[in-house]
Amino acid sequence: MNNTYKSTPIKSSEITPYSQYLSRRDFMKAAGVMAGAALLAACAPSVAESTVPANGANSMPTLPPKMDELGNPTNSLDDITNYNNFYEFSTDKGAVNPLSKNFKTDPWSVEVGGLVNNPKTYAMEDLLSKFTQEERIYRLRCVEAWSMVIPWTGFTLSSLLKEVEPTSAAKYVRFETLMDTKQFPGQGSPFYPWPYQEGLRLDEAMNDLTILATGLYGLPMPNANGSPIRLVVPWKYGFKSIKSIVKIELVDKQPDTMWSSIAPSEYGFYSNVNPNRPHPRWSQSSERRIGEFSRRPTLMFNGYAEQVASLYDGMSLDEYF
């Protein structure tokens, strides 16, 4: 099987560096230049020689644009880092990037504890060196009915959990974002129950698709996307993928989550991408892929049904939404 998200672990040195990525726009631009050059060459070879740079051939892409396993090209780094729901900085998606410029992620540590045999606080460097970082190209479906395709780098949450050994009493995993009103101006707002918290059932957390992402496009995680470490659960709405994590806790009861405490009738604990369960605000049966003009249908479990549908066997997805 040649599914990108099932990619075998690779050394960090083998992850495509950003310089080799090419957004579709750049590709078209490059293609346009070459086509133009060819036209010029056809009518006046001498002109063509002087306008095409000597290294023209070398600057052409050697790689096609990155794609997910369904053939969707990845979104540009520009779009990925300038359109962010990160309410700790701002509710304005375009304002997050500038506001997050000076976010301090060094030193950073993640406390892993609760119902485990080996509780441990990991320094960020240890997480990067201890766990094999791999590339995962995932679709991200926001509950607001827009989506992107993002080339994350990171490691499976299961590899971390195996190391701390959850006890038999552990049933859920709870995650918490850094609480720091100095760095996160949005956390001063009384309209939200800070800090951001999220949760997964243990089997969801152990699923191979669930990763802790530490970067994207071969770069360290940009601040606007939840640096230095965030969760990515691609079959759930984006808000489940909590950013800038400082605490991971194994617990025996279903933990409260940010959005389900704000509006429990709209956002459930599971929040699996489900085109059949309507939302009072956004269409969940269709979505707009950022960079595309028309809507496309939303796929059950965001297109990952084969890998995750069995987690919910015998459960009513309407009841446990």
Binding site: Y87, Y192, A263, S294, R295
Partner: protein, 227 residues
């Protein structure tokens, strides 16, 4: 140029410039790729907000006249209201066309599923008769009923604000979520409607008269023959 300023008052120029500049800015940002990575949604949200702002401004005229006695404001309500209707129309067209590509099944689904769409659509439908009867000929033709019809705006404005609140991520009754901006609009609308309750209006008018009287006493008018 002199004629231009004779024909149009500063208030008129300000209103028309404001209303059209919002559209020009949007179009400019659209073509310079400055409308976020999701420009259709940005257009949708901002035209909606402009419509509501203009609606609030049109509601502001009467109380401002009551307080400051600036009668020209009353003449400008029509322009503000019509601009609000213009932005509401653009807002609806963007929603149906750019956002949903006139996919009727999806559109009908949103109407059936989403209360905020119903509130928004009702706002627009109720604005239609007001916009079309805003001209003098209709004012004459409808007589007393014209005023009654146009008082519908006291119902439409809160409806529009509620549409805005529901369209944001959060929960009004728990006061949780991204609600600050729509709540500010709602609060202003509530205050402007309170100003229209007869006892409040009379209190405002008598307050104004007292202030004017005080002003005249402390600043006696120069005599007509003093020049």
């Amino acid at each position: 140029m002199k004629n231009f300023f004779k024909r149009y008052t500063p208030l008129q120029i300000a209103i028309h410039t404001y209303a059209w500049s919002k559209l020009v800015i949007l179009i400019f940002q659209l073509f310079t790729h400055n409308l976020t990575a999701n420009p259709i949604q940005a257009l949708e949200q901002r035209t909606g907000r402009h419509a509501l702002t203009l609606l609030v401004l049109s509601l502001l005229c009467t109380p401002l006249n009551n307080i400051f006695g600036w009668r020209e404001l009353l003449k400008r309500r029509r322009a503000l209201g019509l601009y609000a209707f213009m932005y509401a129309t653009i807002h609806l067209i963007i929603f149906m066309d750019l956002d949903y590509g006139f996919a009727w099944s999806l559109l009908l689904q949103t109407v059936a599923e989403k209360p905020y769409i119903i509130y928004g659509l009702s706002t627009f439908l109720l604005l239609i008769p007001l916009a079309f009867t805003s001209f003098d000929i209709w004012k004459k033709r409808l007589g007393k009923n014209w005023k009654r019809l146009h008082q519908l705006i006291y119902f439409i404005a809160p409806l529009a604000a509620y549409h805005y609140i529901l369209s944001k991520k959060g929960d009004l009754f728990r006061l949780q979520g991204d609600l600050i901006r729509p709540l500010i609009y709602a609060l202003i609308i509530v205050i402007l409607l309170i100003f229209r309750i007869p006892p409040v209006r009379r209190a405002l008018a008598s307050f104004r008269d007292r202030v004017l009287l005080q002003f005249k006493r402390t600043n006696p008018q120069p005599k007509a023959d003093s020049h």
